[in-house]
Symmetry: C2
Subunit: 297 residues, 2 copies
């Protein structure tokens, strides 16, 4: 397996906060284009309450289209609880992602549970997923700061990671939900995570709120982070606020890698086509750079 793994989460973390609901056929078309790029992993959606998150209501249908498709890419789904896991397993999802927030406020607002309650539940759900034969990635959300609380103590993040590792969960993502991370913190925190257990495989998930997304990815690369979550065109910014909080842009990240001679086996053109398609469908310029400029050869 490659040293750097690219995981597009645009269909989930990008679309879930869009004002409009993107039609299932469009999602399927975008996923199909992403697949042709040779990207490693694609998150097709999340198994959440259909009425609470109508943008994700068709996740089961989208998975059904690709059921039994040859791999790679690995098609992943986000689950929040046991019910979501049941649906994911019924859809044949082989790789599930789930997480716990390191911010009490964020945890309560997002899940109605304290960090301790959420962690207990997520560990149980993750172990159930493994028992059912799925691969599992567990994440710590708000790992670099919280939009509500501000600073999040690194010790608290590491406590959550330790609990995951103790439970035998070894693919651990640190998610910068609010975009507060800086390169020095990224290096420090991932180094600390890897010191807990060298067998841990690290994933990162940055938002570009303050323009630091790619700088943080470059920092993560220095300290051996393997999995990079990003969204085509850098979607994910909330259209209702002034704060543009899109994900790291998959295409821009891959373009950086290509310029560094890395992962040139993944084709950028199909990803750029999805980004342009998303800008057309969503009806506004999206944050990504390279889909506008074209890539350097």
């Amino acid at each position: 397996m490659a040293d750097l793994i690219l995981h597009d989460v645009g269909l989930r973390d990008g679309l879930q906060i869009e004002r409009s609901v993107v039609p299932t056929a469009t999602k399927v078309a975008w996923a199909a284009q992403l697949i042709t790029s040779g990207i490693d992993m694609i998150q097709l959606g999340s198994f959440v309450h259909r009425e609470k998150v109508p943008q994700m209501a068709d996740t089961d249908e989208v998975f059904a289209v690709f059921r039994g498709a040859p791999v790679p890419p690995v098609l992943t789904g986000l689950v929040l609880n046991e019910k979501g896991l049941e649906r994911a397993l019924a859809c044949g999802v082989s790789y599930v992602c789930m997480g716990v927030s390191a911010s009490e406020t964020h945890s309560t607002k997002n899940t109605g549970m304290t960090i301790a309650e959420a962690q207990q539940r997520i560990v149980a759900t993750a172990l159930a997923a493994k028992a059912a034969g799925a691969s599992v990635q567990v994440s710590v959300q708000s790992a670099f700061g919280c939009g509500f609380e501000g600073e999040v103590p690194e010790a608290r993040v590491l406590d959550i990671v330790r609990r995951f590792v103790d439970a035998g969960l070894h693919v651990v993502s640190l998610a910068d939900t609010a975009g507060h991370a800086t390169p020095d913190r990224v290096e420090r925190l991932f180094t600390a995570v890897r010191a807990i257990d060298p067998a841990v495989e690290c994933a990162c998930h940055f938002h570009d709120t303050y323009g630091l997304g790619l700088a943080n990815c470059a920092a993560a690369m220095r300290v051996g982070v393997k999995y990079y979550e990003a969204a085509f065109a850098g979607i994910g910014g909330c259209p209702f606020t002034k704060v543009s909080a899109g994900n790291v842009c998959t295409d821009d990240l891959l373009h950086m890698w290509h310029r560094m001679g890395l992962r040139t086996d993944i084709a950028i053109a199909p990803i750029l086509a999805v980004s342009q398609g998303a800008a057309d469908v969503l009806g506004r310029p999206l944050p990504g750079h390279v889909y506008k400029t074209g890539p350097l050869s």
Copy 2:
């Protein structure tokens, strides 16, 4: 002097390619606001042919307003040749910037001279500036690639730097005119420059064409680069093309530094005010992030 020096070049490299000419009074107001931030250096304009670059036609007037102002900040001006230097010295400019392109095509289009001709002329002009008592920064433009030629050999960049150093010019900037740099190249090339002579003080000047501006600044910080050129609001993108090629955003870079505990003596609020003012005057959203989101405390 601080380890990291912030040099805003928005009034020059930002405004010189704007369709509209910003009134002198507005430039003066923006410069005055930047001064109140405690920023280290501000480039007020360039001493170029007034008819060829009407956006810079009032550079002498802008300098006249601030003549004799207490320092810091250092007020800098760009010169292209002997005539420009004469004007700069007549304006009392104490710190002049000048450069040579490492791309033959870029050099010819920009100056009508080959690299060799341009270098001879710039070295002579730089030595004249020093003899007149000014401080001098010499730069290599297109140091990381060229929009016309693509790859620029690192050996050619280092040859130009060596010539500068041999002439006794020790403040050397590498300018990524086209935005082609990546963090690995930044570290490699600046390390090679410093190996030529440890007395060299390095400056960097990145454009954010492909979203890599802050990642490249973070890389430069790792290898001891001291001077950081950036433009308020990340202006500098050409409004006539699809390619958004703005400078690194001064406010976003300072925000990253503040989050890293660095240069907290420079106030960000006045810079954000200039960025918002520029967006209002130029009549469009500008590339910077933090002037839109507000800074993290």
